[in-house]
């Protein structure tokens, strides 16, 4: 067995593309194992742990790129390293016509750019945000791993300068009709959204679109904006910006339940806003005191319905189930002990919404890594029992690997694992479309679904899949085409997040 490393000095690539490249290189038949990454301490530690450390890799700095491969022969190593460059060029996004080496240079040359999108490694993101704010630009920080202190600091700086900071860890925004990062292609309209939740805001925008309305602006503020430490600085500022925006007639606020003191502040501002406000603190009950000007909802679906009603002036519509399944017939087929729902999610908020519905009905049997209450948390390392819902985009699953919305590897493995468990009755999946997502996320799940079906069939068990495709037909992946890929495999495809929960429950009740 041979290990060969090449260290390319001063050659930076973002971790997302390097992780994707590593995956491709590891799939080469001649490669036993391979790792491509910047020479950060973390990566060097990983390389050491998998036994690929060499004197060259140890000397690499965080500005140097490491390519290290393990193959049967030295010649294979050389071939593999050559292949890396071929694979890299295949995956490369065509270079932008105008590109700069530093952001300062870009701000100097592009006085009309109103927004900076920052997706650099977390430890550098705050400095980049400060540079952008100092240059008078609004900022979207896609990067995660930004400290709370830095977040507070940049948000204060932005607030004082009358600028917006979206994020950190903001994956979705729609500004003036242009979808940013993981946004979906939805209609332009007059509903303005401020969201502290990525897939939640995607779902909300897609629902509003499906109901025939559209989005004026969708501002993501980052999952921590409504924490006590940050105090909702940007949600409050964004609300005021939407109040002043002539395109916006209704404002929707979306978040996981915030810190009580922040919730109070946000609701107070919402009550005083010049436009009607729909508030959805996912899963949270409406406050006992009715608020003027504020419609309180518990799910993204209800938030969308309420906002569309306010915008059109029509009554709130009711939603008929999108599925037509003889659930009694399904239930009759289960083997003894086959009763569990296994949710394997790419979207955190999707997982969260399904969790709230299941928990409401089966508090004793429902567990999830998104649960705030430790009583509902998954026991680390313990075997899964009952209804288990996993957000595979959570930090513990994305350390050193791409998000499951981009790379299907981890979810595919989990699908196969869940199918092997005789207790599993229904596997619940979400498929997120949109600009930044995998180009064919449904297709990427097909092999795992087929393998899972085979495992169940070999064991003589039935197995059901329930899936939801979050997106529109205008998304690059095309929703209808994605749905077909799933229904062709007998997957029951529902039409919103809440139905993932309701159909699964009806099939296992």
């Amino acid at each position: 067995m041979h290990v060969k490393a090449v260290v390319m000095p001063n050659k930076y690539s973002d971790s997302m593309s390097l992780m994707a490249l590593s995956t491709k290189v590891n799939e080469l038949p001649i490669v036993v194992s391979a790792m491509i990454g910047m020479g950060t301490d973390l990566n060097k530690q990983v390389i050491e742990e998998v036994g690929l450390s060499t004197p060259e890799t140890e000397k690499a700095t965080s500005r140097d790129q490491i390519v290290v491969v393990q193959c049967a022969t030295e010649a294979d190593c050389d071939t593999a390293i050559e292949q890396v460059e071929t694979l890299r060029s295949q995956g490369a996004v065509a270079a932008a016509e105008t590109s700069y080496r530093t952001s300062r240079q870009a701000y100097a040359q592009e006085p009309d750019a109103s927004l900076a999108i920052i997706s650099v490694p977390g430890q550098y993101a705050a400095d980049e945000a400060r540079t952008a704010l100092s240059a008078g630009r609004n900022v979207l920080v896609f990067s995660d791993n930004v400290t709370v202190e830095d977040e507070l600091d940049i948000k204060r700086q932005a607030h004082d300068a009358g600028l917006l900071v979206m994020g950190p860890d903001c994956g979705t925004a729609i500004i003036n009709g242009t979808g940013l990062c993981f946004a979906n292609a939805v209609s332009r309209g007059s509903i303005g959204v401020v969201a502290a939740s990525g897939t939640g805001s995607q779902e909300l925008s897609v629902r509003i679109d499906a109901l025939g309305s559209g989005i004026s602006q969708l501002v993501g503020v980052g999952g921590r904006d409504l924490s006590e430490a940050i105090g909702g600085i940007m949600m409050l500022d964004a609300m005021r910006m939407l109040a002043a925006d002539p395109q916006t007639s209704v404002v929707v606020l979306l978040s996981k339940p915030p810190a009580a003191v922040v919730a109070e502040r946000v609701l107070e501002a919402a009550a005083a806003l010049s436009k009607p406000v729909v508030v959805c603190f996912i899963g949270a009950p409406a406050p006992s005191d009715a608020l003027t000007n504020v419609t309180f909802t518990a799910t993204s679906r209800d938030a969308a319905l309420a906002a569309v009603a306010l915008q059109t002036g029509e009554p709130v519509r009711t939603v008929a189930p999108s599925f037509d399944v003889d659930t009694a017939a399904v239930r009759a087929e289960w083997h003894a002990g086959q009763s569990d729902i296994r949710g394997l999610f790419c979207g955190g908020t999707v997982c969260d919404e399904v969790f709230h519905v299941l928990k409401g009905q089966f508090p004793d049997r429902t567990r999830s890594n998104v649960a705030k209450d430790p009583a509902f948390q998954l026991a680390q390392g313990a075997a899964s029992t009952g209804h288990v819902l996993i957000d595979l985009g959570a930090d513990e699953y994305t350390q050193g690997r791409p998000h499951p919305m981009i790379d299907p590897t981890i979810r595919n493995a989990e699908i196969v694992k869940a199918a092997s468990d005789p207790a599993t009755a229904v596997i619940v999946l979400d498929v997120e479309l949109g600009f930044g997502s995998h180009p064919d996320p449904a297709g990427a799940a097909v092999p795992a679904i087929s393998e899972a079906r085979k495992i169940a069939a070999d064991a003589g068990r039935p197995l059901e899949f329930v899936a939801y495709v979050l997106g529109t037909d205008r998304d690059p992946q095309n929703k209808s085409a994605q749905v077909t890929k799933l229904t062709d495999l007998g997957v029951r495809v529902v039409d919103d997040v809440i139905e993932l929960a309701t159909l699964s429950l009806e099939m296992t009740r």
Binding site: N10, Y12, D14, M16, S17, M38, T61, S62, R63, V93, A95, A96, T98, S99, Y100, R101, T102, S103, R104, Q105, A106, Y107, E110, D112, A113, S114, L115, A116, I117, I118, S119, V120, P121, Y124, D127, E128, A132, R137, N138, F142, S143, G162, L163, L164, I175, N176, G177, T178, G179, L180, C181, Q217, D237, R240, M241, A244, D245, Q247, F435, G436
Partner: protein, 473 residues
């Protein structure tokens, strides 16, 4: 509270993942890409120095000083006024002085190519019978070593310049200062690359007795030749004028030829000279170095300036000078390995380290900084045409302004990136790009390739600490 974001057309500066940029463009909005890479980790001293220089009042003084420096660089108008023997024209030249490229260096620290050139020059000047004896002379103080730069000169590769060699005389028509440089020995087994056998010495003798005197007489007839205009034209004709000089050489030869024909040399000698010039495109290479030196020297010695006025290498050390420090304060660090295509039969491990005063061209804004003007250079120095374009764009990040007198057509006639700023180099972590020839690491062999190289960060780190002491101290 601003509503600009919602009321103006969306335009995005995308710092990081390139797919976000293309997704935005696909939707019909404008987005520019920043090809971000992590900043360097600096020592506390360097960070403190950068912070000191960033204080608003200090930064304003620096801005004013740097503006003056780049104004002088841009306004400088170098013209060729003659050729003459070093002993007659170069300030401080003596019969046993050996000028060399780069910052100061002693014989014991010189690399192979430099030693080869020094000993060859000692034999050429008759200060020793042979190379072995010349090594004794060099080691025992028989000659005085001094950097070309400290004598208003620049020297290509080893830059070895001795008393009887013929020099270009380039005068700055605006500021009055003069710069000198040796004649091209053409390529490749030559003194400045470290070769020193009899063929090398014989060529130097011919250059001293025929080539140099003919050029001198030609310029006595011509008066002066406008080198700045000629350089501007050469850039438009696809030169970058450090390693690709074909247009510059044709233009210079075209100007000189009528006067060369009028000199009182024999037809055979004239034919030899014409054939010698024809033998390599590099004939005008040193000329553009002298042009660069002439412009940059005019800008040196402006208090509070952080602009680099010299980058040079002696094969062991890389040295820079900064406009804010009058005279010869050198900031040095180790010379780096040049990466690029090797001539047949040689491997990268045969390479000597980065050498020569020719990085004066990049300091001025041509050479590596102007590679967008010269896509045809790519096969010589390596990389792709896109790389070449990007180098010229990237250098804007570390320079003060652009030079409207010298432009690059393919960049919409954008001027050369001008006035490398020590502070910007450190802030951006972007190093100046230099394209250059590779000499063999051993004495006596010569040129074995060409490629690309950067200065070591260390020289800028040392400079910024000194600048903070001097400007903000």
């Amino acid at each position: 509270m601003t509503t600009d974001l919602f009321t103006t057309d969306l335009a995005v500066v995308n710092v990081g993942l390139a797919s976000f940029q293309s997704d935005i463009e696909a939707q019909g909005s404008r987005a520019v890409q920043v090809d971000w890479s992590p900043p360097r980790d600096y020592s506390p001293e360097v960070r403190a120095a950068l912070a000191a220089l960033a204080q608003p009042d200090v930064a304003e003084r620096i801005r004013v000083a740097n503006e003056e420096v780049v104004k002088r660089i841009i306004d400088a108008h170098p013209v060729l006024v003659g050729f003459g023997q070093a002993i007659d024209v170069v300030p401080g030249m003596t019969k046993n002085t050996i000028l060399h490229a780069g910052p100061p260096i002693e014989w014991k620290d010189m690399c192979g190519a430099m030693r080869g050139a020094v000993t060859g020059a000692i034999v050429f000047e008759g200060l020793a019978e042979n190379i072995a004896e010349a090594e004794e002379v060099a080691a025992n103080g028989g000659v005085v070593f001094s950097p070309c730069h400290e004598h208003d000169c620049v020297g290509s590769m080893a830059g070895v310049t001795s008393a009887s060699m013929y020099m270009h005389i380039v005068k700055n028509a605006v500021h009055g200062n003069v710069a000198y440089t040796n004649l091209s020995e053409q390529l490749a087994k030559i003194l400045r690359m470290g070769a020193n056998d009899q063929s090398v010495i014989d060529r130097l003798v011919w250059m001293r007795d025929v080539f140099g005197p003919m050029l001198k007489q030609s310029m006595e007839l011509a008066g002066e030749i406008d080198l700045r205009s000629m350089l501007a034209q050469a850039l438009h004709m696809g030169d970058e004028d450090h390693n690709r000089n074909i247009a510059g050489t044709l233009l210079l030869f075209q100007s000189l030829a009528p006067f060369m024909l009028q000199t009182d040399f024999t037809m055979k000698q004239k034919q030899e000279v014409f054939e010698f010039i024809q033998s390599s495109d590099y004939f005008s290479g040193p000329t553009w170095m002298a042009v660069s030196k002439c412009a940059l020297d005019a800008a040196h010695g402006v208090p509070d300036s952080t602009v680099v006025t010299t980058m040079c290498r002696n094969g062991t050390d890389f040295g820079i000078r900064v406009a804010g420090f009058e005279g010869f304060r050198w900031f040095t660090g180790p010379a780096q390995q040049v990466i690029g295509p090797m001539m047949a039969g040689y491997k990268p491990e045969d390479s000597g380290l980065d050498i020569g005063d020719s990085a004066i061209t990049e300091t001025f804004g041509i050479g590596g900084f102007a590679m967008a003007a010269a896509p045809a250079i790519v096969p010589l120095v390596g990389g792709t045409v896109d790389d070449a374009m990007n180098y010229s764009k990237d250098m804007l990040a570390i320079t003060t302004t652009v030079n409207p007198n010298l432009t690059i057509p393919v960049l919409n006639f954008r001027g050369l990136a001008t006035g490398i700023d020590v502070v910007k180099v450190l802030e951006t972590g972007e190093l100046p790009i230099i394209n250059t020839a590779i000499a063999h690491k051993d004495a006596g062999i010569g040129m074995i390739g060409a490629g690309l190289v950067n200065p070591p960060f260390e020289v800028f780190e040392k400079a910024v600490i000194a600048l903070a002491e001097s400007i903000a101290g």
